[in-house]
């Protein structure tokens, strides 16, 4: 590699970080949006290039400032981070394309500040994904979290403020737990580089601090990733954020923290702490099953579209954790693949919500009765994305659930029992998506039906996202390969 391509791993972090002060200087809303969208799309293109590079020539490493690892900060893009980078930059680009203006919560002359915060959130999330340094990950975590709090606080109602305060407190506790864990590992090994950590823990004679670190890091990251029962910040934060922000963070932010969680638990701790992986499995599997059942059941009872989808996210995080807690290559493959596919499905659904919210201004189910006749294109897209969330064959959601079931069956009778919650969760997903469809298609629209479709560019972006769901349902090769290689990397180190 030579020239610019050697610097590729750093670009998804550098570009939004440099663009954010630029957006402050631009001030004008349209220009700010254009600059933010352009840099996000550029990062998306870089992410695609990186995926191609990883598939062609393996792991891409980059020494920041030419300081070699383990002393310098190392950026590493392997199959797992390439996939996550694709999710993060893709979600950001789609959500920005649909949002030339943030809902009514923010005055026009201050909207540029929100695009600034958006770019910082993007830089932080990309940074977490590419960084190979534990402390660097913490810093990026806080950059992205602080920016996300600002974005959510821009929501139209005052409930957004109460929700964001709770998120801020819980998010900070989660990040601080992570910091404590990193501190304990540093005490025992004297390194912050993840790969170096894994090698050096093998020489540690007293493993108790490492065990404590494992606990702190797992719980802290689970809090950030909204793993049941640490999810209580999530529904309010998602539901009261501006629509475009919800589409962005719902598609990628919890997955990024799950990514760090898997990195630590499978790469750093797995081989070094005796019995760690059995404990991980024993703790996470029941929580994952409860998350699937509880999240779906609560979603059934919701009367607001955004709350409904937010609780469904809690359940979907359960599927990802369930795959990981099987601790087999096939299980982890299913979990990682579900990160990608859920990002596609939930991202598309929240884009549809953004269209509905913009055109009709209401999101409670009883007020949406007959709305499909007013916005046929948007609701048709909602239905297809909903099918993907449920896991109907031909859509992306089916592929990962299918692999999850196959991975569970590998375990024999015990595994066959695990299929039950997956199926119950899917049936409940059918019901809560049907609730929306029933209200929108079969509800009483009143005497006169006025067409009130969302602006054409929003519907176009929405359909692009929906068609991706179908495309990756029929051609799951690329994410599947990446997920399989990532799972092999995590479990077998190759």
């Amino acid at each position: 590699m030579n020239g610019l391509s050697a610097h590729l791993p750093a670009i998804p972090v550098i570009i939004p970080l440099l663009a954010s002060p630029l957006v402050v200087l631009l001030r004008q809303r349209g220009l700010a949006w254009a600059a933010a969208t352009a840099s996000s799309l550029f990062c998306f293109a870089v992410a695609i290039t990186l995926v191609a590079a990883v598939r062609e020539s393996g792991v891409q490493a980059y020494a920041v400032g030419s300081w070699a690892a383990p002393f310098g900060i190392e950026l590493i893009v392997d199959q797992f981070s390439a996939l996550l980078l694709l999710i993060v930059t893709g979600a950001s680009s789609f959500a920005l394309l649909i949002a030339p203006r943030f809902g009514s919560g923010v005055p026009d002359d201050r909207q540029y500040l929100f695009y600034t915060a958006w770019l910082l959130a993007l830089a932080g999330l990309s940074g977490i994904v590419v960084s190979g340094d534990a402390f660097n990950i913490f810093v990026f975590m806080e950059i992205s979290s602080l920016a996300t709090y600002i974005l959510i606080a821009g929501g139209p109602n005052r409930q957004a403020l109460a929700a964001v305060f709770r998120y801020l407190i819980m998010g900070t506790i989660g990040a601080t737990f992570y910091l404590i864990g990193v501190g304990y590992i540093y005490m025992m090994t004297g390194t912050l580089n993840l790969a170096d950590m894994e090698a050096l823990i093998q020489d540690v004679s007293d493993l108790r601090p490492v065990l404590v670190a494992g606990g702190f890091i797992t719980v802290g990251l689970a809090l950030k990733a909204a793993v049941f029962p640490l999810h209580i910040w999530l529904p309010n934060a998602y539901a009261h954020a501006p629509h475009a922000v919800t589409a962005f963070i719902a598609a990628c932010s919890t997955k990024v923290f799950l990514y760090v969680l898997f990195r630590f638990d499978f790469l750093v701790f797995q081989g070094n702490l005796p019995g760690h992986i059995e404990q991980f499995s024993a703790f996470m599997m029941p929580l994952a099953i409860i998350a699937v059942l509880f999240g779906s059941a609560i979603a059934l009872a919701q009367k607001d579209l955004k709350f409904l989808l937010a609780y469904s996210s809690v359940a979907q995080i359960g599927y990802i954790m369930l795959g990981a807690s099987l601790v087999s290559v096939s299980g982890l493959t299913a979990g990682i693949l579900h990160m990608f596919n859920h990002a596609l499905a939930k991202g598309a659904l929240f884009l549809a919500v953004a269209c509905i919210g913009t055109a009709l201004g209401v999101l409670s189910l009883d007020k949406l009765s007959g709305a499909a006749r007013r916005m046929p294109w948007t609701f048709a897209a909602f239905v297809v994305a909903g099918l993907s969330l449920i896991g109907i064959p031909g859509t992306a959601g089916f592929v990962s659930k299918w692999y999850l079931v196959l991975a569970a069956l590998e375990l024999g009778v015990m595994g066959a029992l695990l299929i039950v919650p997956v199926l119950i969760g899917s049936v409940m997903a059918v019901i809560y998506i049907w609730k929306v469809v029933e209200a929108a298609y079969f509800g009483n629209a009143g005497e006169t039906v006025v067409r009130a479709e969302a602006p054409w560019w929003m519907v176009t972006v929405l359909w692009a996202a929906v068609l991706l769901n179908v495309w990756f349902g029929l051609q799951p090769g690329l994410p599947l390969e990446l997920a399989r290689e990532a799972a092999a990397l995590l479990l077998e180190g190759q």
């Binding site: 913490f138 407190i169 910091l179």
Partner: protein, 119 residues
Amino acid sequence: MMEYLGLYNYWVFAVLLMLGLYAVISRTNLIKKLIGMTIFQAAVFLLYISMDKVEGGTAPIIQSHMPGQLYSNPLPQVLILTAIVVGIATLSLGLAIVIRISEAYGSIEEDEIRKMDNA
């Protein structure tokens, strides 16, 4: 016994950590929650600062007239400098949100806010 008392830095760390977390969980006043959060973070700063101490070590500045001098490890101090900055940013954002909450709700008590939301 002395072995454990000698680690008093770490005892203070643990006690501060629990105090901070308890304040965050038990207080309903949002400002008091933020104070608890700050104590919680400060405890972690103390953990990092404590671990860099090398017995008999001095400040990590190389001096040519003192060859073979032991130095404390400077890296955790640098790390925690970053974490302190992050903590300040979080605290100021938290306080800004509390101001907005107080403007929007007329209260900064969590239970009253919840009552208003549910009403």
